[in-house]
Structure formats: C-alpha cells, structure tokens
C-alpha cells in the first residue's frame, strides 16, 4: 500500500467518524435546535407552561381581533390550534393565512402571551399577476401561503 492510499484511507475513516459524531450531537440537541414548536406539540403537552418558548403556525382565517394595540389571534398547523395574545406592532407580512413565529410564554390554559411576533414567508416567488391568475384559475395550491 502506497503512502497516498494510506492517507486517503485515514482521511476517509476520519471523515466517517466526524460525520457520525456530528450526527450524534445533532440528534442529542434536536429539541434545542428547533426554532419553534407547532400547535400539535403544545397540545400534546411537550412544552412546560411558564417557560419562554416560540410557537409557529398559520394565522387562522377570521381569528384576528384588534383592539387598539392589543391583538389576539389563533395559529394552526392544520390539526390543532393555539390562541395567542400580543401587544405591539405586527410585521408587514402578518395577515390571515400567513405563517408566523411568536416568542413568549404559555400559561396553564394553553393560551400563549407573545412578546414578539415574526412573520415567516414561504419559498414561493412569483409576480403578483401570476399569483392573481393562479387564484382565479383555482390552481392556487393548498398551503402555498404557509
């Protein structure tokens, strides 16, 4: 076996070990790397009330109630939904059906009080006319605006 082959084998073996180590670390920290929890995870009791967390989901159609600076709305992931109360300025992209991430605290009744609301935009890019045409022709995909 030449020196080059030996070096190649050593590198391949180290790469394998490194990849395995990285995978294990990510597996161990899986819950910490997650940026937000979905409504289903909250309803399933995965989150302790009183802890500062982020929740994410689509704003439920017709659920937004604004009184002055106070806003309350529901977010959903299609299965479960969670009510959110928030006081402050909403991002420009905030609207019904839009994906959002809110940071705050969950109370005992599973109602979420947010101190910050961030909008999440999707991976679809198109001119407004195309979006209009798609909606008109009924080809607007379900969940496209998530």
């Amino acid at each position: 076996m030449g020196r080059k082959q030996r070096r190649l084998i050593i590198i391949l073996l180290s790469a394998l070990c490194l990849a395995a180590a990285a995978a294990l670390v990510m597996l161990a920290f899986r819950d910490n790397i997650v940026f937000f929890f979905g409504p289903s995870e909250i309803k399933a009791g995965k989150v302790q009330p009183g802890k500062r967390i982020r929740v994410g989901g689509l704003v439920v159609e017709g659920s937004v109630v604004k009184v002055g600076e106070k806003v309350s709305f529901g977010i959903t992931d299609g299965n479960e939904s969670v009510d959110i109360h928030y006081v402050g300025i909403l991002p420009d992209l905030f609207r019904e059906g839009q994906g959002i991430v809110a940071e705050g605290v969950l109370n005992q009744n599973l109602v979420f009080t947010a101190s910050e609301v961030l909008a999440k935009h999707d991976e679809n890019y198109m001119p407004p006319e195309v979006a209009e045409a798609l909606k008109k022709s009924g080809h607007w995909k379900e969940g496209m605006e998530q």
Binding site: L18, F35, F36, L93, V101, H121, P127, E132
Partner: protein, 229 residues
Amino acid sequence: MAIAAPCLPWLSAATVICLAYGLYLSLIASPADYQQGETVRIMYVHVPSAWMALFVYTAMAVASLVAVIWRHPLAEIAAQASAPIGAAFTFCALVTGSLWGKPMWGTWWVWDARLTSVLILFFIYIAHMALTSAFDDPARGRRAAAILCLVGFVNVPIIKFSVEWWNTLHQPASVIKMGGPSIHADMLWPLLVMALAFKLLYLCILIVRMKNELTAARIRSLTAARARG
C-alpha cells in the same frame, strides 16, 4: 496557472458583462413579488452570495483533500487564496439576509438553525485564514489549515439541509429542491445570471490571488537563497 493567467482579461470582461446584465435584470427588468413586493430584489444578491459561501468552501475542501493526499502545492495555494473570498461572500450573505429579515420577518437576526450554521461557516473561514498565517513556515500553516478545512466541511450539509431538518424562521429552498424550483421563471433567470456572475467574479479574484501568492513564494525563496549567500 500557465493556462489560467492568459484567460484573466477575458474572464474579467465576462464577469463585468454578466454582472451588469444580471443587475439590470434583477433591479429593473424583473417583476416584484406577490407577497414581498420590491423587497424581493434583495434575493438577487443574497441568494448568489449564500450559494458562493457554500461553493467556495466546497472548492476549498476539495483543494485541501488534494493537498493532503497528493501533496499538490497548487491545491494548497488555491485553498489559501479562496478563504478570504469565501469569507467575503459569507459576510455579504449575512448582511443582506439581515437587511432582508428586518422588513419581511420583523427582525434583524434570530438564532435559528440556518442563520446560526452560516455564522459558524463565517467563523470557520476566519479561523482558516488565521491558522494559515499562524506559523513561521507557510507550508506548515497551509497543512494545518487544510485539516481544519476538511473538518469544517461537516458544516456544509448542515447548512444546506438545516431548513428541512428543523423548524426554522428561514424559508426552505426554492431553487435546488425536489419537484423543481418554486420560483417563477421571470425571477429565476435573473437569479441564475447573478449566480453565474458571482462564480466568474470568484474565478477572477482567485486567479489574481493565486498569482500573488506564487510571486510572494518566489520572493521568499529568493531572499532565503540570498541570505544563505
């Protein structure tokens, strides 16, 4: 290098033309987005920068592999010359992303998996540059940096798939994904032109930097030879 150097003027011209055409397409000719309006134009700089951040690092990792296994001297120099370019592209992606995040998400920065892993990539680039020049003997510095580069490569797939493996604020991939791009052709074309322009720009700067490094190495060896008498 004997082939690359004479190409430089042509490559530079192609870069300028491609960049000018790409900027015209992305800033003037392309449509606004249905959801984001005019702000979407940040994408035409942000996305190619981010692609280049990964592309340059991958190129560096390949060069480092060649350098470590086959001890090819040019490969080490290519990796060394690439690091600051890659760092600059990564910085560009982070800054434009931040400027894009404020109007769209409502925040300059969040610690989600995508943003954090790209920040780590930026630090790896910086560490690579520091390690390369941390030794009195440049050859030893390059050897150490090559190992660092190979170890740091584990971050590249993490960045690419971070938006699919975990919940992130950053949206999933639009162009390179299963089922074809989810970006309209009128916006995809300017994006691809810009991406090509950034690649050409990288090649131009890389050739210039490698030429510089080779000249510097020659000067070093000549001065050493003279000092020995």
